[in-house]
Amino acid sequence: MALFTQLGKIAGEHNVFSSQEERFCYAYDGSYHLHLPDVVVKPQSVEQIVKIIKLANDSGTPVFPRGAGTGLSGGSLPVRGGIALVLTDLDRILEIDAANQVAVVEPGVITGQLQAVVEEQGMFYPPDPGSLEVCTIGGNIAECAGGPRGVKYGVTRDYVLGLELVTPTGDLIHTGGKTIKNVTGYDLTRLMVGSEGTLGIVTKAILRLIPLPREVKTVLAVFDDLLQASEAILDVFHSGVTPATMEIMDAEAIKCVIEQAGARLPLDAEAILLIEVDGWPSAVEEELAAVAESCLRHRARSVETAGTAEERNRLWQARRAISPSLVKLKPTKISEDATVPRAQVPAMIKRLQHIREKYGLNLVIFGHAGDGNLHPNIIADERDAGEMARVEAAVGEIFQAALELGGTLSGEHGIGLMKAPYMQAELGAPGLAYMRRIKQSMDPNNILNPGKIFLA
């Protein structure tokens, strides 16, 4: 029986797409790559997922799990045809346990919607990837998504207490639970978070919530010198403040989002910092003063506080618009997220500036400077072979710089397709082989998301 027919029997015919036109709409994500699946299926229950995975093992068909398709490392792309497994229809918030400050959700729940629901009850789910209005918790867990608030609140892995998942061979298991402490056996929950859909399909997640900060204040600091701005970042931490967010944008990034931000952003600045402090109102006031002082010490041209919620929202809309808006410069966007220890941010920025000049590329620097997670984005045109060759060389040098400074290839986007060739440089051959053995032992038929993290 054809795969299509069998999947139709499992998930219902209208939840299976086989036409080339429909399949094409699952061949892309937020990166610039394109890989057509052989068939698309939208399961409606956990039981259906189990059946699909068993079918895939029996027929040797690769399965590529997918949420909203907003990833930036090609993690969900069906690089070997096979089945695109779309998990967005499992989107129920199953429980919000206020007493234990825990939420239990299905993988298709949209991050921003979960945040809105828990915030109404005075609780907080901090991870805030740029695509939070559309991306899913399942995708966030697969990639261990971060966001601006990572600097103070950590990333997705810091909020996942337990999981229910379908293993690569089609068993349904659970890991962790509702407790904060749990050392019963291996920490499979942590292993799953950031495993990029290669070790299992999350069908349920138990998420840790924290109290919603009473007050948030946003500061916009403008600098005439990018390096001064990066020095100011360190100064803020020295002063004893852990800001909720600490974002940097360079001149190019400012230009790209000036429309969204309105008149608030100066076009002639070399860098701006978007800093937030949150907590109890009295503490926020003191921290705000300390932040302003740090910025001024490093020759900030101006330091302003966003007065209203609307103003604050506008600044954040602009910040989140940077990544998508870069294609206004040129169509092909290569988003990197090489991350260094915070103290190396000034050095990393110097290296990036050097790479930009050396290869003559549009390299835009922005990102979560407070946790060392910069987003150097190269904007090119994939139809220009010469330029793409320079891009490849530059990307290699960016990774090299990050590793030399004690950093890592990826802070929050994942390895996916694009960074797989550089894995050994960071992990070494034995380290990479150890990871590979984990994958091989859990997924003997190499069914789940093959071709990701590891080179084929």
Partner: protein, 420 residues
């Protein structure tokens, strides 16, 4: 229209297809933010139905990855052209423009379906035939043929669906009841043209008469020349040739009447004039185009006084896509409604979300159109208003139909109908 946009339109004109097409689609970074706002996606929840999917589908048609198959045509038909994605897109990707171009390419490659071809080609450009047809329809409706057809179930099901959506036509078309020129009571302050649109002409004739009366009361000389369908039904089906022909005929009619401002009471007609005609014709219009509420806000000082508080009826306002996003008219109708004695304006949630009508979309996708409209109906009911006003006759038909299904005693009107 701002000079910047005009340049953009000029570029599209002169460059003709490939380069400009590529520029349109390359602006999409595939971030997927449109998934949070697209009304069609909210119902169907699959990537082919969201703006990002449409943009990538068009890109694939351009570079030859995909062909103009029946499936392709079907997927491209699932767009309301509501513009909500563009408004929320970090790059302002013009999905509506892209979908229209895709549809036009499909027509180029395999033509229009039989019924659409004949309506656009022969009926819309010939007022004699159109009046005859409307007259015949109106008489048959009043003779009870409609209820007979419904009771006997004589019509085959596709025609039955269309018949159910067909509004009751007026006994006499609007323009046959109005003079060609209507003078104000006093001095002529301005000379305006009134573009009646097909729905004020054949269905909402009372609204049309109100518009003409109020325009003349506000000091305008109102010219109502022989005119034709605005062409949007043809354009949204991909028939650029016939919509351009209608554009030429309409512009000529009002240009020879030397009007200073063209007034519309239909959001779709107004936005077609304002945004599509310059592109279709490759030149700027010789006069301004304004929605009636916009015109009154500027010229009709008599309608801005609020009388002292009486016990008032609640009215809520639905923003038509073509008015709010395409013509950027949001405040004026609200100001107008708030200024009417005895009325109290109350906002509904998501007032500018598409009602799902979208012209012939409701014919092609009736069930989906209803599902999208239901959300709007919930928001209307939640306000407790007894009146819902909207500046688009197509929205008006949709809202009235869905409210009737709910047995809700709520009047659906054009804001102008509430002015005394």
């Amino acid at each position: 229209m701002c000079p910047e946009n005009c340049n953009q339109l000029d570029n599209i004109k002169t460059a003709q297809a490939p380069v400009a097409d590529a520029d349109l689609v390359d602006l999409c970074s595939r971030c997927g933010k449109c998934r949070s706002v697209c009304p069609v996606f909210a119902e169907l929840r699959a990537e082919p139905y969201v703006a990002r999917g449409k943009v990538q589908l068009y890109k694939a048609l351009l570079n030859g990855t995909l062909e103009a198959t029946e499936k392709y045509r079907e997927l491209i038909s699932f767009c309301l052209l509501c513009g909500q994605c563009t408004e929320n897109c970090p790059n302002g990707v013009e999905t509506e423009q892209i979908v229209l171009r895709a549809r036009s390419k499909l027509v180029d490659s395999s033509g229009l379906p039989f019924i659409k071809r004949n309506v656009f080609q022969h009926l819309l450009k010939d007022n004699g035939r159109l009046n005859w047809f409307a007259g015949w329809l109106s008489i048959s409706q009043r003779l009870g043929l409609r209820s007979l057809a419904r009771k006997t179930g004589i019509l085959p099901s596709p025609l039955k669906n269309i018949e159910q959506l067909l509004p009751d036509l007026a006994a006499k078309p609007l323009r046959s009841q109005l003079p060609g020129v209507l003078n104000p009571p006093g001095r002529v302050k301005i000379k305006v043209g009134y573009f009646t649109g097909c729905l004020s002409q054949y269905v909402f004739t009372a609204t049309g008469k109100n518009v003409a009366r109020i325009l003349s009361q506000s000091g305008a000389q109102v010219v109502i020349p022989e005119q034709y369908c605005c062409g949007m039904p043809a354009l949204s089906a991909g028939d650029e040739a016939n919509s351009a022909a209608l554009a030429r005929m309409n512009v000529a009619a009002f240009q020879s009447a030397a009007v200073e401002v063209l007034i519309t009471d239909c959001a779709t007609c107004g936005s077609t004039w304002q945004n599509r005609y310059p592109e279709l014709l490759g030149k700027e219009l010789p006069f301004k185009v304004m929605d009636i509420s916009q015109f009154l806000a500027q010229w009709g000082g008599l309608y801005t006084q609020r009388s002292s508080g009486q016990a008032s009826a609640l009215v809520t306002y639905h923003d038509p896509c073509h008015l709010a996003r395409h013509m950027r008219v949001r405040e004026e109708p609200r100001v107008l409604l708030s200024s009417i004695p005895g009325l109290e304006m109350v906002e509904m949630q998501e007032a500018d979300r598409c009602c799902g009508a979208s012209g012939s979309f409701q014919l092609e996708h009736q069930e989906l159109s209803t599902r999208i409209g239901e959300r709007k109906i919930e928001h209307i009911l939640a306000t407790g208003a007894r009146i819902v006003a909207t500046g688009c006759p197509s929205c008006r038909l949709q809202l009235a139909r869905l409210l009737q299904v709910r047995d809700a005693d709520i009047a659906v009107v054009h804001p102008i109908d509430l002015l005394k």
